[in-house]
Amino acid sequence: MITAQNITKRFGNVQALTELSFVVNPGEFVFLTGPSGSGKTTLIKLVMKEIVTDKGELLISGQDIKKITNKKLPEYRRQIGVVFQDFKLLQDRSVFENVSLPLEVRNIKLLDIQAAVKKALELVGLTARASLFPAQLSGGELQRVAIARAIVGRPKLLLADEPTGNLDPKTSQSIMKILKQIHEELQTTIVMATHNVDIVNHSGLRVITLVDGKLVKDNPKGKYE
């Protein structure tokens, strides 16, 4: 699903990533850990093609993303779902409208949108909140809306950039449960950047650890170090 070969990224004098190489197979659930500034978010931005690598090759489903033109970029991004620490929801749109956004931009018929949004909200347990606005929801609910938005288009790959960063331990566990459910039910490949030691240590999943932009450990059943 993701193949990184010696990818390097600099921001001015700051070396964000240095010759990073790894492979994430389709259907895998991988944690990306490391201290702040280790390059986790940079890697996610590279996969989303918000930024491009200085050196090396980044292949997503076998496609070199450097070769994706600006015209083809929207089509590429529709194959990826993304969840952020700060949710990035539109405050003037209801839960339903926020979740339907990725389908709306594809000009899908309203009836099909309604059916897909209903399923996504069921999966995250927010059916009863569909007509509410973000300001009326708790932090955990906001993140569940963001997850529903990320999966409503059935992406092959889900990127989660510290999705539990703003949440209490109990809510973080419930978010983790939903992500695992998505992984199992929809066979979505998930790459999740996190600082949450408990979540990583109790998952028994693969952990890639970054420090100062370098890959220091890639453990199939890892721990937070």
Partner: protein
Amino acid sequence: MSSHFSTAISRIRRSPYQTLAAISIMTMTLFLASVFFLVAAGSQAILRYFETRPQVNAFFKQEIVPTDNQVELLRAQLESTNMVDSVRFVSKEDALQIYKDLNKSDPLLLEAVTANMLPASIEVSAKNPNDLKKIAEFLKQQTGIDDVRFAEEVVSSLAVWTKSVRIVGIALVGAHVLITFSIILLIIGIKVANRRDEISILQLVGATRGYIQAPFVIEGILYGVGGGILAWGIAYLVLAYSMPFLVTFLAGIPILPPPILFMFKVLLGEILLGAIIGGFGGLLAVRRFLKS
């Protein structure tokens, strides 16, 4: 498309003051454009009116009352040139009647003038407008003739006037179009900046540039359409209000009231111009942001 339209409408409703500013400046510019266009079109119509009337007016000296023989002799001389289509004698009494018809709304002016104060004249229509000058020269040499006026003078001064109106109009309206364009760019630019987060989210979920741009372009077009309709309405009201004065001023030149179809075309033109300014302003504002 309908979702972009409703998005644009809701954004307009949520920022009433920016909307007011955008529509006001658009209305002002398009009103100015309509005024200059109507004046230029009116001048053109007057010009055409004079061009299609190959006429020379020769005025007798005020103290002279031409006899029938004098008039007939002049008529015969003119007709013998083969350049003349018709000759009409206007006596002092006829001149007074014409004067009364033109000033019937102003009794003061009517009381002050008598037939003796007005000169008799003859109106000569040429077969060919190119012969007007020759006929005028011929009439100037006749005894008892004080002044000769013919359409060429009116036509040439009208042509200069029409050209000036066009140049001033294009320059002034052009400058206003630029100002309006900049203001629309600024207003929609502010809205784009306010929606920075929304745009970046849309980009991340796979929205195309067209999808992101459309509501802003529609918003600009709606400002233009609104401004165009308002400007046309104001111009029509001003024209209707000034109609009695203009009819008197034009002294029988039949260009008023303007045909409904013509005014409808002016409306369409204003809407189109407004939509182009607004739509292009909106497009440029959002493209600048997307590029950065």
